[in-house]
């Protein structure tokens, strides 16, 4: 039985929601670069934008970025993994961490406001997004890591309010901002209310319904601002792929969502 039905030869795939490392609360099938590449090969994913899982729950995230980069440099000879640095805008020294991340070879920024305890529309976060934008870096804002109903009982983390991300995007229209892990209700709302912001995208890893989910999204918003996201290694990558690759939408729309839009953001 095929993992998924899409003809691999016709469209390549770029995953905009993938992380590498140890998660504090559950075990997952891949916690390093080699394991992630194996999962990508099995799923037919060519490239993935990756951040550090450890950095999500570290109080001071940057050491986890450094460790991720060392792993990538040692084990990703074909540069299939595009590293984004995970930082907290409110932690002392974050500007220097940004500079060091750039020198190390990171190419974008991942933010987890709920896990690092700040608001994305507060000045420190806006300043960091501005800094990233000045370098041409895209910024991923992650709404959630896991379904809120299944968190560790002592660490119940609320999702990031979409309004705060939309507000931040409006303050910085030059910034390329990617909504990550917005759910089936939130993602359409986000796309609706950012229609006039062409640099604002949504990766679709947490869009799990309703029936004909992708057909409905493409009918409403076109395919220009949506990106493949699998949420590896937390989720079976085939789920994120199948709903796009096997949806009843045009081949052009599939190509845009699975690869083209991501390639544009990444300057490939």
């Amino acid at each position: 039985m095929a993992v998924h039905k899409m003809e691999k030869a016709t469209i390549t795939m770029i995953d905009f929601c993938c992380d590498i490392g140890n998660y504090a609360f559950r075990e997952w099938p891949a916690d390093d670069t080699a394991g992630t590449l194996a999962l990508m090969d099995r799923a037919g994913i060519d490239l993935a934008v990756v951040g550090s899982i450890d950095a999500i729950t570290y109080v001071s995230p940057h050491p986890a970025n450094e460790r991720l980069m060392a792993d990538l440099q040692a084990n990703d000879p074909d540069s299939r993994l595009i590293p984004y640095t995970t930082l907290s805008p409110v932690y002392p020294g974050v500007e220097r961490d940004m500079e060091e991340s750039r020198e190390l070879g990171f190419r974008g920024l991942k933010l987890y406001p709920s896990y690092h305890g700040y608001q994305i529309d507060d000045p420190p976060a806006l300043r960091l997004i501005e800094m990233a934008t000045g370098w041409g870096w895209p910024v991923i804002v992650t709404v959630r890591i896991e379904d809120e109903r299944h968190h560790h009982p002592l660490m119940k983390v609320k999702p990031v309010p979409l309004e705060s991300i939309m507000w931040a995007a409006r303050q910085l229209p030059e910034a390329t901002i990617i909504l990550s892990a917005g759910n089936s209700a939130g993602t359409p709302r986000f796309l609706e209310q950012t229609r006039d912001l062409p640099n604002v995208y949504a990766e679709l890893s947490y869009v799990k319904g309703p029936l004909r989910a992708l057909e409905i999204l493409v009918e409403r918003f076109g395919s220009e601002r949506m990106l493949l996201g699998t949420h590896m290694p937390f989720v079976y990558p085939g789920c994120g792929i199948a709903k796009i690759a096997e949806a009843d939408i045009s081949e052009a729309a599939k190509q845009a969502i699975l690869e083209g839009n991501a390639a544009h953001i990444l300057g490939l």
Partner: protein
Amino acid sequence: MLIDFHAHVQDDDEGTRADEMVREARRIGIDYIGISEPVTHSRDSLEIVQRQNDLVFRTYERHPDFFIPLVYTHANLGQAALDEVHKGFDRGARGIKMEVATVITDKCVEPIIEEAIARDVALLQHSWHKVTGNYPFETDGVHCAEIGRRYPELKLVMAHISGDNRWGIRAIRDVPSVYTDCSGSIADYGHIEYCVEQLGADRLLWGTDARGADFLYTLAKVRDSHLSDEAKAKVLGLNAAKLLKVV
């Protein structure tokens, strides 16, 4: 054979949603869908239960070769709950569905359980374990395990692997009579393999929880798993065919 054991059509008066679901399911290759129309807001009147069942049977009658109806009931309605079950089987039901009106361990559920045993049909019980707190009468996996021990002859299906799948699997793994379905939005990497490893391939059923969930998303979690082809065939349809008596 591909059977979605757990879905909801939520049809309109014109049958538009039923027709749309059939079209999409056939495009993907789904052979049958087990449907019910529960109310998910705790305790409602008999009239609402009857309205929901009327909806499911009209959907079934519109596509009788495709949909397999399960009759929905609120056990706390007493004899009326049982009467609703009888009426459902008169209209073609092949299973019973319960949602969040009553925890399955409540004494008032016993006549419904006994009816399911007498008819040798599956009882599909919504189940979830939430760290954020369950609804007041929402069944958890541990409740399903308790009922499975009390009624080993009952064909009980714990829906959604109880949400937090590791919790759900562990709750029922030592209760061999309890099945589970993997319907819903949760697609944690490895949980399908873990479920089959702990329960065996005969106790897991594929389901979608459509319309809320997308067929393709929910199908891929089994299709993309590392199960053997034989185990996948059981999970994706053969187990449901036995429970729903699909020839």
